[in-house]
């Protein structure tokens, strides 16, 4: 299968354009602007200062902001635990978890401490902590570097979970996440770090970018719901489907928790057919929540059962098999065929 073919062509298209910015660079600019706007914004992470992070998202920030960019000890629980303390002191920490598979040592600090502290204090405390996590596969990595663990955090009350899928959103959403007074898990699709697009770096902070889903492509026949790394897959599926006479609507969820039920249901009711695409295993994944939501709110407008396309219920496979695991163009189109079957 050709899982990265779509990504590859999207990247090439983008590079051909004039003045464009990669998604990674857009994040970097978002961080820089947030740190210029508010001197309480501090960055914590492993190898983020002089190296600029393993994906270079914090490149150059230590030069401009000095000790506000902290190379921490290698301790993920410590990164989140100390970020909580900094937030209690009035800071706005932005944590970088080096890779998705290394967030688990911080699980307790995220789920039992960060997420609950506001409710535990009966609304007295604010925890404006952003946790950036490069997420997903498709880069041929060794194990623990390709996971999609959003369902754990979406299941946790007290957290907001978002995923950007596009350079402009990367910039806008990161700034909005940092400005948000709630804890935000911010997923960055790692195989899209090098995707390019024109990015307006002059936009003001817009909270809707981390709260609202967005229609990227209007269509009439099927709604394809995607987020993070699968947004590009959905867009290329729409392109191919259009050539075959089918009109797909692509909904970029952006906010995974809470879900933008309004936009989701508006689109689902319009097309009557929904395909959800994510890299995480389908089993108890976000697609299940989306399918249930659509079923509850739009049952009588549906023409077919909601289809879910995602990872299989196995540990993430070795790199040479990830093409078979990741939802790609063919699997999305296959699901589109199923929901359109008479």
């Amino acid at each position: 299968m050709t899982s990265t073919a779509a990504a590859g062509s999207a990247r090439k298209d983008a590079q051909d354009k004039g003045s464009t910015t990669t998604l990674g660079r857009a994040l970097n600019e978002g961080l820089r602007q947030a740190m210029r706007d508010d001197d309480r914004v501090v960055l914590l992470g492993e190898d983020i200062a002089s190296l600029g992070g393993v994906f270079r998202v914090t490149d150059g920030l230590a030069v401009e902001f000095g000790d506000r960019v902290v190379d921490t000890p290698l301790a993920e629980s410590g990164i989140i635990g100390t970020a909580i303390g900094l937030a209690l002191r009035g800071y706005r920490p932005v944590c970088e978890i080096q890779f998705d598979g290394f967030v688990y040592p911080a699980f307790d600090q995220i789920v039992s401490q960060l997420a609950k502290m506001r409710a535990r204090s009966r609304g007295l405390l604010r925890l404006p902590v952003t946790i950036r996590i490069p997420v997903g596969g498709g880069i041929g990595a060794v194990e623990h570097h390709s996971e999609s663990n959003e369902a754990y955090f979406c299941h946790t009350a007290g957290l907001r979970v978002v995923a950007c899928g596009h350079p402009q959103d990367a910039y806008d959403m990161l700034r909005a996440a940092i400005a948000c007074d709630d804890p935000v898990i911010f997923y960055e699709p790692k195989r899209r770090y090098w995707d390019r697009a024109e990015v307006d770096l002059g936009r003001p902070v817009d909270g809707d970018t981390v709260g609202r889903a967005r229609i990227l492509l209007e269509g009439a026949d099927v709604t394809v719901v995607a987020y993070g790394p699968t947004v590009a897959v959905a867009l290329s599926a729409a392109e191919v489907a259009a050539a075959e006479g089918r009109s797909l609507e692509v909904l970029d969820l952006r906010s995974l928790s809470p879900l933008d039920t309004t936009e989701l249901c508006r689109s689902a009711s319009k097309t009557g057919r929904v395909v959800v695409v994510h890299e995480a295993p389908v089993n108890v994944g976000l697609g299940a929540e989306i399918a249930a939501t659509v079923m509850e709110h739009c049952f009588y407008n549906l023409e077919a059962p909601v289809e879910r396309v995602g990872g299989y219920n196995v540990p993430y496979p070795p790199a040479r098999a990830e093409g078979d695991y990741l939802p790609d163009l063919d699997r999305v189109l296959d699901a589109v065929d199923r929901v359109c079957a008479p």
Partner: protein, 365 residues
Amino acid sequence: MSTNSPATPAATHADDILRLVDPAGTLNEQAAAGMLDVTDELVRALYRDMVLGRRFDQEAYSLQRQGELGLWLMSLGQEAAQAGSIRALRADDRVFPSYREHVAALCRGISPAELLSQWRGASHGSWDPERYHFHIYSLVLATQTLHAVGYAMGVRYDAGDSVVFTYFGDGASSQGDANEALNWAAVTSAPIVFFCQNNGWAISTPASKQYAGPLSERAKGFGLDAVSVDGNDVLAVYAATQRMVERVRTGGAPGFIEAHTYRMSGHSTSDDPGRYRDSAELARWEAHDPVERVRLLLTARGWADEDYFAAVASDAEELAAQTRQECRAIAEPSLSDTFRNTLCEETEALRREREGFETFEESFL
């Protein structure tokens, strides 16, 4: 059982453990001279804190037995460790407690109702941490030590001169978070003092199963300045804390204090310590009671008379009555509020769920 029993401070490495007042109430003038100006007011004030704290704990215990609280974690026996340490801090030194620091909390002015609310099942944390510079309790062991280090990093950024102070137990010392916090504090030179109340037990697990070398040595290995004190000697705790905190305040390396004390009750009202420790151990520790030795010292010095002791006892009874009355008056929690407090602004999804819940509830009216 006895092989696991925690030794009293007198029994092991007594040389390394700071003590100023022995169980007979004798003040070691020589040791005290360099550390502390021992005044009658200071000793009386600490005595009063301990007596009130003990009486409060006893009342809360009774309230649990009478069904007014769901659970209570007793502080009996740890009054000196807590009063001695908290009173050595400045009022704006930020404290990150564990869950048994009732005596310290009372000293900071937290009310009985605020302290009992959580154990009555009315909240998960009820006081305003900003008001008392005392964070809400942490029930997941050692998690608060990392929050404390982060807060201390913030103090450092602000060029503030307050010191952060965190309590944790001998059992919690085995958690990853505690060790990450010690290391992190040392690496960042954060203005923090760790205070380990080594009360010999973590539920049924004796301290001997938590570590093979002294905790204060471990702290030194991380690069902290560490001392051990007799945690049942309120003056030693006060002196050691004051010295450590002031050293950190003036830019010294982060500090670690291990206070050797004893949990004289069970772990909680749900515990049955008879299953894992013998009464001889308790008897040994009763001879090291933290309150009694101060009473003896006050009496021997003529710093307090029977009238004073009677007045403190009467204040304690008044606190007990107030505790009982406040406990019963604690407002019932509302699930609707929890929806509103989950995030800073109630999201559409939360509002819809709350309204669904409220409509359902109202359908029974």
